[in-house]
């Protein structure tokens, strides 16, 4: 529960603060860019839901588990990193293809938010890893 509240504050506080200092139209563009940028989060959540049972099973395994975990984590990091890199490089093209011109102003916001959510995606692994190890 405290983690959920802190996560919500972390995700939503910027738009609440923005409304005080920036025109509402710009807040709307920022919100659109932010939503595109955090889109990767849905993939990350899905992967982690699928990965958790395998991870805990591997943690109980006696031999060969470490190599399998390293391989899976490497695939995860490469996949998420590749998607993020493509998003950073082609954010303009993506918005141009999908949205009308009045949304083009959102493009500059996408790359930093996307890179931020890359760190968010990578934070999940060490946090889960450490909490699991501690319980043993």
């Amino acid at each position: 529960m405290p983690h959920g509240i802190a996560s919500w504050i972390l995700q939503a506080s910027d738009r609440i603060i923005l409304q005080r200092f920036v025109p509402l139209a710009e807040v709307g563009l920022y919100n659109f860019g932010y939503t595109i940028g955090m889109g990767m989060q849905f993939l990350v959540m899905g992967i982690n839901q699928a990965w958790s049972p395998h991870y805990f099973r591997l943690m109980k395994a006696e031999s060969g588990a470490d190599a399998k975990i390293v391989r899976a984590v490497s695939v995860y990091i490469s996949l998420i990193g590749g998607i993020c890199l493509a998003g950073v490089l082609f954010a303009g093209e993506i918005v141009h293809l999908l949205m009308p011109p009045r949304f083009y102003g959102a493009v500059p916001y996408i790359a930093p938010v996307l890179a931020g959510y890359l760190f968010s995606a990578y934070t999940i692994s060490p946090a889960r890893r450490s909490s699991t190890t501690r319980r043993q």
Binding site: I9, L10, D14, V70, S74, A111, V113, G116
Partner: protein, 86 residues
């Protein structure tokens, strides 16, 4: 218990940086603050988590990928690559 504390610290940092930088640089500051905040949260979580890890990951390779993404993020903003889309 440490994870909510770290996230709370990141949320407080996010609010402070936004209040400080948005009035000066506008909405784009908020996007960069998002990157900075999640970067700090990752760094602190990673350092804390390593104390309990027994698995050795190829961190240098992961670091190269992250460095490429960060360099690309700065480059697309600074080199005018986004100009056609503004």
């Amino acid at each position: 218990m440490i994870v909510p504390l770290l996230t709370g610290f990141a949320a407080a940092l996010n609010i402070l940086l936004n209040l400080r930088l948005i009035p000066v640089y506008g909405a784009i500051a908020s996007a960069w603050v998002t990157l900075a905040t999640y970067g700090v949260l990752f760094s602190v979580s990673f350092r804390w988590g390593r104390r309990y890890q027994r698995i050795r990951y190829p961190l240098a390779r992961y670091g190269i990928l992250v460095a490429m993404i960060l360099a690309s993020t700065v480059a697309v903003q600074r080199l005018g690559i986004l100009e056609p889309w503004r």
